[in-house]
């Protein structure tokens, strides 16, 4: 049975001056699944995530998250969402615990200290809760950002390069935690990543973007088969380089409409 869509994007466009960053994309993300938004630099991933979070106003199109019109009523659904992104940071002079406490209060948690304690244990942050955020390593900061993103037990979680600066061990633990969280909470995750192993492991669906367009979509296995490749890494390279664009063969990058 098909799950209902948690995110529905219809003919979404974003134009900056003379550049079309997102050029009329439509897709749906099934509730309770993990979907990857893939594409090279400038493909429109972060722009799309920003519009989904309502920090960027689209030029045209519509976005529905958890049944709410995100462009008209973002505050109805923002308490049920969260995100991490390498483009934002947390106040560096506040300790990790203080940062998490501020966001726990912003999201209205009744028992903030308990939740911070849980996440600190899960993300191995107990030892750094009293340290200023600015003194942490890149990997520790990424874990704090993930902890911040999970404070409100989000139903929709948007992750922009969530494990980019983590070593393989910590990265693996984070993926395991996110998979467990997703399975137990039935959270919907939309993830922009350049780590194809991560995508193959975590994602039920993949949306391939290029030059602001959705050029393909399917499960990782479907895409690997469709492109006649062995890994998502190879599929990614094919899509990013436009392999098969001019060919009349079996690899038809195409605009996808949900």
């Amino acid at each position: 049975m098909l799950a209902a869509a948690a995110i529905v994007v219809n003919d979404l466009r974003k134009r900056y001056d003379k550049v079309d960053a997102v050029n009329g994309i439509s897709f749906a993300v099934r509730a309770g699944t993990t979907t990857a938004l893939l594409g090279g630099n400038g493909a429109g991933k972060t722009t799309t995530l920003s519009m989904l979070l309502s920090v960027l106003t689209p030029t045209a199109g519509s976005i529905s998250v958890l049944g709410c019109d995100m462009l008209q009523h973002p505050y109805r659904v923002l308490p049920r969402m969260n995100f991490t992104s390498p483009y934002v940071d947390l106040p560096k002079r506040l300790t990790v615990g203080e940062n998490l406490r501020v966001f726990a209060d912003l999201y209205g948690l009744r028992a903030p200290l308990q939740r911070i304690g849980e996440l600190a244990r899960e993300f191995d942050l107990s030892g750094v809760l009293a340290r200023p955020y600015g003194t942490l390593s890149a990997g520790q900061r990424t874990r704090v950002s993930l902890a911040k993103a999970l404070l409100n037990r989000p139903e929709v979680l948007l992750l922009d390069e969530p494990t980019a600066s983590l070593d393989p061990d910590i990265g693996d633990r984070m993926r395991t935690y996110l998979e467990t969280y997703q399975r137990e909470s039935r959270c919907t995750m939309l993830l922009a990543s350049h780590n194809m192993g991560e995508v193959e492991r975590m994602c039920d669906d993949v949306i391939m973007l290029r030059e602001g367009l959705v050029v393909d979509q399917g499960s990782p296995q479907e895409l690997i088969q469709r492109y006649g490749r062995e890994t998502m890494e190879e599929v990614f390279l094919d899509v990013a380089r436009g392999v098969g664009d001019e060919a009349d063969g079996d690899i038809p990058p195409r605009e996808f409409a949900a």
Binding site: L94, D105, Y107, G108, R110
Partner: protein, 281 residues
């Protein structure tokens, strides 16, 4: 997904005045953490107002034997400089609170949280009150300690002057924040310099009557000119200047509305141009 009862067990309601107050308190907590752990930061907030006050106090000591005006109102310059600092600190409190978020690259996190724009502004204004109380409060204490001058000798009018200047400072502070959001941290200098544009026409240390007539028209369009003229009225005539008070209230409403409107427009512009996630140091 969250069942409704599970959600209410884990979270406070997200709508209503109590929810807004909680989110504003969270913002205040964020800035209080920063201020309270740094004594140099606290000292620097009171340092400039205190040093300026001391300068004007010694000038008063020097001029008083030869100046009838200062014999009638010996605390005039000290009161003026303290009230001027209410305006300056009020504006800085708003602008620096905003700049702090930009330096931290934290705007993205805040604007994807349930925090509404009005709550964000309320947090900035509350922090402005706290910063002003710390900064000017320190100078007031030293004015009493060193020169036995108490700003509280102004009585009830002091409260009115304080509120009127603070509100004007908020209007300018929000407009400055809007410009920094619009043009980036390169416009940060405005936070320190903007207020001095109104200083010459506010009549802080001299009556508005000394200005050229065309400049007097400009001055009367500022709440600060009415406040300082009112302060002179209280000190020299002992009368509360209701006419100036009403004019200052009306002008404050206009400037505050303009400040809020400008800031809202800047946020809208930032949303259109993708600056909320990408702005920062």
């Amino acid at each position: 997904m969250h069942a409704a009862n599970e959600s209410s067990a884990l979270f406070f309601p997200q709508t209503g005045i109590a929810a807004s107050a909680r989110r504003v308190r969270a913002l205040i907590r964020r800035h209080a953490y920063l201020l309270l752990k740094s004594w140099p930061r606290m000292v620097s907030m009171a340092y400039y107002p205190t040093v300026t006050m001391v300068l004007w106090a010694f000038l008063t000591v020097y001029l008083k034997p030869t100046t009838n005006f200062l014999k009638d109102a010996p605390g005039f310059f000290i009161g003026a400089v303290l009230l001027w600092d209410v305006l300056f600190r009020g504006q800085l409190g708003v602008s620096l609170t905003f700049i702090e978020e930009m330096y931290s690259r934290n705007l993205g996190n805040l604007f994807v949280s349930p925090l509404r724009l009005g709550e964000f502004i309320a947090g900035q204004l509350t922090m402005s009150i706290l910063r002003t109380l710390i900064g000017v409060g320190g100078a007031c204490f030293f004015a009493w300690l060193l020169f036995r001058y108490s700003i509280f000798s102004l009585g009830f009018p002091l409260l009115a002057f304080f509120a009127l200047l603070l509100a004007f400072g908020w209007g300018i502070g929000l407009a400055v924040s809007a410009m920094i959001l619009r043009w980036g941290l390169g416009a940060e200098e405005l936070a320190w310099a903007a207020i001095f544009l109104v200083a010459p026409v506010s009549g802080v240390y001299y009556p508005i009557a000394v200005l050229p007539s065309w400049l007097q028209s400009v001055a009367w369009a500022l709440p600060s000119a009415h406040v300082f003229e009112g302060m002179r009225s209280v000190l020299l005539a002992g009368a509360f200047p209701w006419e100036h008070f009403r004019a200052a209230v009306a002008l404050d409403v206009v400037y505050l509305a303009l400040g809020i409107g400008t800031f809202r427009l800047a946020v809208r512009h930032a949303r259109v141009h993708g600056k909320l996630l990408h702005m920062g140091e």
